[in-house]
C-alpha cells in the first residue's frame, strides 16, 4: 500500500459539549505500519477525538478520510465496517460469558452459531500475534491484563486494522506492559495502524514511531519519536517549559508517627493479604511503598485509615511526646475525632474518595460537614475551599458548581488531593496519587506532597512508578506478596535492587 496515503486522515474536526470545546479544528494523519502516540494533558481532548473515530460521538464539524476516501462514522458499527477498533480504558465485557462468547457477541454472521469455529479463529489470531488467553475462560475469572487481551482480540476478530488504545498500560504491571508492547510491535509489522494514548513518556519513547500533541482541544504538532525527547514533548503538551526533576527536600525533624507491628489482614475470601507487616512512618518524611500491584498496598492503607478489618497486630499513632494510641478497632470517624488527622487519598477516587454526582463544593464538605453544632451544614467555607483548590491546583472546570463526574480524571484527582491536604493532616496516606494524571499534574501533586512533608506531615506514598519513588521518597518499604521484603533509603537505593525485592522476599540478599 502507498505509504503516503494515510490510513486515517482527520480534517478540521470540532466537537463541543455544551459550552466546552473538546476538539477545535483538529487535523491528524495516521499511517499503516506505524504506531502513533497521541499526547496531551488531561482534558486536552484525546479521548474525545478517538471516540469520534470509533463512532461513539459524532463530530460537530470536520471530515474523516479512510484511505483517502471521505467517510461518515455514525456508530461503532460504522467504525468496524471501516476497520477501526478501539480498546477503551474501561473494558466493555460481559463478566459471566467466556472470552469467545464476548468476542463474537453482536456479530451477525450467516448460518448457525458455531462456537468451535469461532474459537479456532480466535486461537489463530492469538498465535499470529502472541496473545496468551484461554478462549473458554469466563471473563470474571480473568486478570485485568487478560481482559484487556480479550478486548484486543475482539477488535482484531472483527477485522480491525486501525487500532486505538486508550491508556492501555494504566492498569498493567511492568511485565504485562512489556508483553502488550511486543504484541503491538508484531501488529505494526503486520501493517496495522496503531494509535496509543498514554501519559508515560518512557513508553512513548520505547514504543511509538511518531507522536502527535493536543493541547486544550487544539492540534499542536507532530514529530518522529526518534527526533524528540521527553522534555520537548512535555513542553509541547503543557505549552511552556516544565522541569522534569522532582525536588526532594531533607526530612524535617523526623519522629515516629505511625507504628505498625505484626499487622496481618485477610480478605473476606480468607486470602492472606498482609502478613506480619511492621514498619514505622515518620513525620516530616515521605515514605514510599513499592510493590507489584495487588501486594497488599490497598489493605495496608485501608487498615491504617480504619476501613479494613485486621486479623492480628497493632497500628499505633504516636503523639509528639511519645504516647501511643491504638488505631485498630476504631472506625474512620473515631480516628478523625481523636485528633488523629489521617487524610487518605484512596486508590479508587470516584468510587470512594468523592461523590461523582455532587459538585466540587459539596465534595469539599465530605470531610468537614460535621463541624459546628448546628443541624445545618456550613456551605460557605466548602465553597471557598473549592475555589481555592481550583485556583491553586489549576483544576480545569467551568465552575465550582460543576458536578465532579464531568471533570476529566486528572482534575478529579486534584480535587481529591486538594481536599485531603486542606484538612491539615498530620498523616497523609496516598495511593496511586498520580495514576492517570498527565505529567504536569503529576508534578503539581509531587510538589504538594513535598510541601506537606516540609510542614512536618508524615506522608505515605504508594506508587507504581519506581523511578518516581526513587526520586521522591526518603525511605521506601518494599512489599512482596503481603510481606515486607525490605526497607531501603530512597537516596541511595538502586532501581534493580528494589525491582528484585518486589518480586522476591529479601531481594538482593537472597541472590545466589
Amino acid at each position: 500500500m502507498d505509504k503516503m496515503t494515510p490510513a486515517v486522515a482527520l480534517r478540521g474536526i470540532t466537537k463541543t459539549f455544551g459550552p466546552v470545546v473538546a476538539n477545535d479544528h483538529v487535523d491528524l494523519d495516521i499511517f499503516r505500519g506505524e504506531i502513533l502516540a497521541l499526547l496531551g494533558e488531561n482534558g486536552s481532548g484525546k479521548t474525545t477525538l478517538m471516540n469520534m473515530l470509533s463512532g461513539i460521538y459524532y463530530p460537530d464539524e470536520g471530515q474523516i478520510f479512510i484511505d483517502g476516501e471521505e467517510v461518515t462514522i455514525r456508530s461503532p458499527k460504522d467504525a468496524f465496517d471501516h476497520g477501526i477498533g478501539m480498546i477503551h480504558q474501561h473494558f466493555k465485557l460481559v463478566d459471566v460469558l467466556t472470552a469467545t462468547e464476548n468476542i463474537i457477541l453482536g456479530l451477525k454472521e450467516k448460518g448457525r452459531l458455531d462456537l468451535k469455529a469461532a474459537e479456532k479463529r480466535i486461537r489463530e489470531i492469538c498465535d499470529a500475534y502472541g496473545f496468551v488467553i484461554d478462549p473458554s475462560q469466563k471473563i470474571y475469572e480473568m486478570s485485568v491484563s487478560q481482559k484487556q487481551t480479550v478486548e484486543i482480540v475482539k477488535v482484531l476478530y472483527r477485522g480491525a486494522d486501525i487500532l486505538i488504545l486508550d491508556e492501555p498500560t494504566a492498569v498493567l504491571t511492568p511485565q504485562e506492559t512489556d508483553r502488550l508492547f511486543a504484541v503491538l510491535r508484531s501488529m505494526r509489522a503486520d501493517g496495522k495502524a496503531i494509535i496509543i494514548i498514554t501519559h508515560k513518556m518512557h513508553e512513548v519513547l520505547d514504543l511509538s514511531d511518531r507522536v502527535a500533541v493536543l493541547r486544550k482541544g487544539q492540534y499542536i504538532g507532530q514529530m518522529a519519536t526518534r527526533d524528540t525527547n521527553a522534555q520537548e514533548m512535555t513542553d509541547m503538551m503543557v505549552g511552556r517549559s516544565v522541569s522534569l526533576n522532582i525536588r526532594r527536600p531533607e526530612p524535617v525533624d523526623p519522629k515516629p508517627r505511625i507504628l505498625l507491628e505484626g499487622l496481618t489482614v485477610r480478605s473476606p475470601e480468607g486470602i492472606l493479604k498482609l502478613e506480619d507487616v511492621s514498619f514505622e512512618v515518620r513525620s516530616g518524611e515521605i515514605l514510599g511503598i513499592a510493590g507489584i500491584s495487588g501486594c497488599g498496598q490497598k489493605e495496608l492503607l485501608e487498615a491504617i485509615a480504619g476501613l479494613q478489618k485486621v486479623e492480628a497486630g497493632h497500628i499505633y499513632y504516636v503523639e509528639d511526646n511519645g504516647e501511643k494510641e491504638e488505631l485498630i478497632g476504631k472506625d474512620p470517624l473515631e480516628i478523625q475525632k481523636m485528633g488523629v488527622s489521617l487524610s487518605f487519598v484512596p486508590e479508587d477516587r470516584l468510587g470512594m474518595g468523592l461523590v461523582a454526582n455532587m459538585d466540587l463544593s459539596d465534595n469539599m464538605m465530605l470531610r468537614s460537614f460535621r463541624e459546628g453544632h448546628s443541624v445545618f451544614t456550613d456551605r460557605k467555607h466548602p465553597h471557598e475551599l473549592a475555589e481555592r483548590v481550583v485556583d491553586e491546583l489549576e483544576v480545569n472546570t467551568p465552575s465550582v458548581s460543576t458536578i465532579v463526574r464531568r471533570l476529566s480524571g486528572g482534575n478529579v484527582q486534584k480535587v481529591l488531593v486538594g481536599r485531603e491536604i486542606a484538612s491539615a493532616p498530620r498523616v497523609l496516606l496516598t495511593a496511586y496519587a498520580v495514576r492517570g494524571l498527565d505529567i504536569n499534574s503529576s508534578y503539581t501533586i509531587y510538589d504538594l506532597l513535598n510541601r506537606q512533608k516540609e510542614a512536618g506531615v508524615a506522608v505515605v506514598y504508594v506508587g507504581e512508578d519506581l523511578d518516581v519513588l526513587l526520586e521522591l521518597a526518603d525511605r521506601i518499604v518494599v512489599l512482596c506478596g503481603g510481606k515486607v521484603s525490605g526497607t531501603v533509603d530512597g537516596r541511595t537505593a538502586d532501581k534493580n535492587e528494589v525491582g528484585l525485592m518486589m518480586t522476591r522476599l529479601g531481594g538482593g540478599t537472597e541472590r545466589a
Partner: protein
C-alpha cells in the same frame, strides 16, 4: 462550515445547562403539544370537540369551590406521601412500601379512636393518634430498613411485600371492629361524639390537612437541602463506599432515614382517618403510595418541584374522572389522555439535556423546539429520560454496547 452529504439526518449532542426559563419553556411546550395530540385523538376516536373536553376536564378540577377544595385535599395527601418517600429515594433506597406504611398509620389512628374514644379527652386523643400513627408508620418502614442495613436485603421487594401484610392486617381489624356486625365495614368512627376527629378550620374540613402538608413541604426541603442529615442521605445514596470512607455510618443513616420516611407515611394515614375519612378501609391509600413514586421522580426528588408534579397528577385524575362521567366514556379514556400528557412531559426532559441537529441543506439547525421533531423522537426521548439524567459519556457507552450486542 462543512457540508457533508452523508451526514446523518439527525444527530444528538449534549447541551450545557439551560437557563431555567428556557427549560420551563420546553416543558410548557411539551404540555401544549400533548394537549394537541390528545385533542386529535379525541376527535378521531370519539368525535367530540376537544376544546369542550378540555373545558370539562378543567371544570372537573376547578368547576366549583367544593371541587377546588377537594383538589387541594387530594393534592395535599399525594404530596404528603411523596414527601415521605423522598428522603429514602434520595438515599437510593427504593421505598415502595408507602401503601403499607400509610395503612399502618391509619390502623394505629383508628384503633386509638375506637379504643379510647370514650375515655380520653379530645386533644389528648388527637395527640395520641398522631404519636401512634407516626410510630406505626415508622415501625413498618423500620423492618425492611434494618434488614437492608444488616444483611443488605432487597428493599424494593421487601417494602412491596410489607404492603400486603399491612392490607391483611387492616382487613382483619375491620372485621374485629365492624359496625354493625356482619356488614364487613367499620363505618364512620365516633360519628356522634366526633372524638379524635381533627378540628375543622375556618369551616373547611380540608384546610387543616393542606396547611400541615404545606409546612411539611418546606420543612422537608430545608431538611434535605441544608441539614447535615440531608447531606449524609445524599452521600450514602450516591456512594456507600465514599460514605464509609468519610466516616458516615451507613446502616445508621439508612435506619434513621427510613424511620422518617415511614413516620410521614404514618402521618398521612392519620390525616386520612382523623382528618377527612373518619373510617378505616383496606383501600384507604388507594394506590397513592405508588402514584407518589411518580410524583417524586417527576420532580427529581425536589420537594418544591413535587408541588407542581403532584398538582399535575391530581388535576389530570380529577379532570379525567369528570370526562368519563359527563361523556359516558369509561375511566380508561381519561387514563389514556393522562398517559399521553405524562409521556410528553417526561419526554421533554430529553430536549432539555440534549440538542438535536437536523441536516438541512448543508446547514445544521438546532431544532430542539421543533414540534415535528419532538413528536417524531418522543419515543427515544422517553427512553432517554427514563434512564434519568444520563451523562454524555454514559450515553456514549450505551450506544456502543447497543451496537456491540
Amino acid at each position: 462550515m462543512h457540508n457533508n452529504p452523508k451526514e446523518p439526518l439527525i444527530h444528538i449532542t449534549k447541551r450545557g445547562a439551560l437557563p431555567w426559563h428556557r427549560a420551563w419553556g420546553i416543558r410548557l411546550l411539551a404540555i401544549l403539544v400533548a394537549l394537541v395530540v390528545c385533542g386529535v385523538i379525541t376527535t378521531i376516536t370519539t368525535g367530540l370537540d376537544p376544546l369542550a373536553v378540555y373545558a370539562t376536564m378543567f371544570s372537573g378540577a376547578f368547576g366549583t369551590v367544593r371541587r377546588s377544595w377537594i383538589l387541594g385535599q387530594d393534592l395535599a395527601i399525594l404530596l404528603c406521601i411523596s414527601l415521605a418517600l423522598t428522603p429514602a429515594f434520595r438515599m437510593h433506597f427504593w421505598n415502595l412500601g408507602g401503601e403499607g406504611q400509610i395503612l399502618a398509620g391509619s390502623l394505629a389512628t383508628a384503633s386509638c379512636m375506637i379504643l379510647f374514644g370514650e375515655t380520653l379527652p379530645g386533644p389528648v386523643l388527637i395527640l395520641l393518634g398522631i404519636v401512634a400513627s407516626l410510630a406505626a408508620g415508622a415501625f413498618w418502614a423500620l423492618i425492611p430498613a434494618v434488614c437492608k442495613a444488616r444483611w443488605n436485603t432487597n428493599e424494593t421487594l421487601f417494602t412491596l411485600m410489607m404492603n400486603y401484610v399491612a392490607t391483611q392486617l387492616v382487613a382483619y381489624f375491620v372485621i374485629v371492629w365492624e359496625v354493625p356486625k356482619g356488614s364487613g365495614k367499620i363505618g364512620i368512627i365516633n360519628q356522634s361524639t366526633e372524638a379524635g376527629w381533627l378540628p375543622v378550620l375556618a369551616g373547611n374540613r380540608y384546610l387543616l390537612n393542606i396547611l400541615v402538608v404545606a409546612v411539611l413541604t418546606i420543612a422537608m426541603y430545608v431538611y434535605l437541602t441544608y441539614s447535615k442529615h440531608g447531606y449524609e442521605i445524599s452521600v450514602v445514596g450516591e456512594s456507600e463506599a465514599t460514605a464509609r470512607y468519610v466516616g458516615i455510618k451507613v446502616g445508621k443513616t439508612i435506619i434513621r432515614t427510613l424511620l422518617l420516611s415511614g413516620a410521614i407515611c404514618g402521618l398521612t394515614g392519620f390525616l386520612l382517618v382523623a382528618g377527612t375519612n373518619h373510617t378505616l378501609t383496606t383501600t384507604l391509600a388507594g394506590g397513592q403510595g405508588f402514584t407518589a413514586v411518580m410524583v417524586a421522580w417527576l420532580a427529581k426528588f425536589n420537594p418544591l418541584g413535587m408541588i407542581l408534579s403532584s398538582f399535575l397528577l391530581v388535576f389530570l385524575r380529577r379532570g379525567a374522572g369528570e370526562i368519563s362521567t359527563i361523556y359516558g366514556l369509561n375511566q380508561s379514556y381519561g387514563d389514556i389522555l393522562t398517559g399521553i400528557i405524562l409521556f410528553f412531559i417526561i419526554g421533554s426532559e430529553f430536549f432539555i439535556s440534549y440538542k438535536l441537529h437536523i441536516r438541512k441543506s448543508g446547514k445544521k439547525v438546532a431544532a430542539q423546539e421543533s414540534t415535528a421533531a419532538e413528536s417524531a423522537t418522543a419515543e427515544t426521548a422517553a427512553e432517554e429520560t427514563a434512564a434519568e439524567a444520563v451523562a454524555a459519556e454514559d450515553t456514549a457507552d450505551k450506544k456502543e454496547v447497543g451496537a456491540d450486542v
